[in-house]
Symmetry: C2
Amino acid sequence: MAKVYIGVDLGGTNIKIGCFNEDITLISKTSIPTDVEKGPADIIDRTGTAVESMLADNSLSMTDLAAAGIGSPGVIDIENGIVIQAANMGFRNTPLKQMLSDRLNCPAVLENDANVTAWGEYAAGAGKGVKNLVLIALGTGVGGGIIVDGELLHRFANKGAEIGHMIVEPNGRQCGCTQKGCIEAYSSASSTAARAAEAIQNGADSSLKQLLDNDGEITCKDVFIHAGKGDKLAMETVDKTAEYLAIMCVSLLHLTGPERILFFGGMIGAGDALLNPVKEHFKKQIWTIQDEPLELCFATLGEDAGIIGNAALAMHTYK
Amino acid sequence: MAKVYIGVDLGGTNIKIGCFNEDITLISKTSIPTDVEKGPADIIDRTGTAVESMLADNSLSMTDLAAAGIGSPGVIDIENGIVIQAANMGFRNTPLKQMLSDRLNCPAVLENDANVTAWGEYAAGAGKGVKNLVLIALGTGVGGGIIVDGELLHRFANKGAEIGHMIVEPNGRQCGCTQKGCIEAYSSASSTAARAAEAIQNGADSSLKQLLDNDGEITCKDVFIHAGKGDKLAMETVDKTAEYLAIMCVSLLHLTGPERILFFGGMIGAGDALLNPVKEHFKKQIWTIQDEPLELCFATLGEDAGIIGNAALAMHTYK
């Protein structure tokens, strides 16, 4: 009998839930409000109710469940299935894996959300066909996941890789994490916007100045738009974002040896205006003593990466 | 019946061979000239003869061999046991694993020498007791190996990690590998000496100047000696070597999550004059949002790390 897999993608606002066949094709998906203030037990109970309803709508029942995966932000003890801390979710030493398993009456896995995204792309997106990849998520921060020989790389004590806090500029910009010079302090969407704004505040000439004066802030999207129109400061800002990403890719290549590095998150909306300069800088920065056929490309699953990744991880673990 | 394991450490000048019990205690070791010009078949044949003689001296015979490990410099296809290229050894597409296995009539493994060193320390040296570590070898270059959850990390296509070519200074010093700003271009023994010499040639005042004028060169050891005597330039040079190593350790921690990072190679002869500033800089550079109990220390096996690591890898693979 065919079995189905559930992926649960927890966010601060919504919980996305997907139901998948064994070949990771989507049967159905839904979304419910997170309502963080109601606490984890309520979150898991309502997730269960949503799953029951979704299954019934598709002539399935709880007995058809093979396994479920749930992804959470925060610091996670993957082996024991516990969210140690996720401030914006209100989790603290929360045994999410067991809670979900109990509610759905099937085996469950818990993983951090950045790793889940990487796994989703690996299983069913732009990472298909390779066993070694890195996903770099470019949003407010820089996150991601590393897959080596078909398995997620976990740091000691089951913590996920924190690729956003690789140092790319010694004693460089202050990062929100307390370190200096992290890639997150240069190439996240918010750091890209902040670098442009700081340069203008320090007297640089730019077509972004009026926007900054009017709105009191500029976004990463603004920077890319003005770069596209030929504004010198905006072009330089985008170029630096790309150069640091390329340098990070060189170091990642030498360490964990990906065949493909995927960029994910809001910033990839910039398209080739982001990807082309990253590729150019990578070509300039990487050694020439041996050929390194690394592919740099965009992730393709978008918002569904979370539900797909969680379901695919459950399948990888229990099938 | 007790079985013994052989470790073969290939160098450009000598081949070191060790014979070990199942608990990785040394039964006997020996060394023969490499004689690179005689070619790989001869090298393996003479290695076999040396093993036979060593076994006989210890009332053992070839039938007591459980497995053997051999480590080589160069680019290696670990899965297929082939040295793709090792210029200074004269190897090119050399199936060393099969050759050794045929000669000794036992299973064999081939690994690159940096990984072997890391494995030796993991199995029987300063890495004992942890499952996640990085070894950083500081010599003419910077090499090393990464162990994650008790296994060596291999890059795609079975290439070893190239931790010496992580970029720590964007568009920084030219590295011999053709990249710019690699850790090897700053913190290797030769780069440490070169940075001091360059500063003097650019007019910096230093007690090293006379040495440089007299001998035409200075060594890393000279730099540490003069730093110890209070020479400002030498102290600054050592401090930069340590700071870049610390920055590298921060990035490594966030990526592969070692519990311990071991420094190995000639430069560790400097002792606390190297290790203390690395620890101080690490403490300054690492984030404070969560505790990272990473141990920074020295490797302890010295020259025997190669034979121990090769024998221990053979045991790990075949026992």
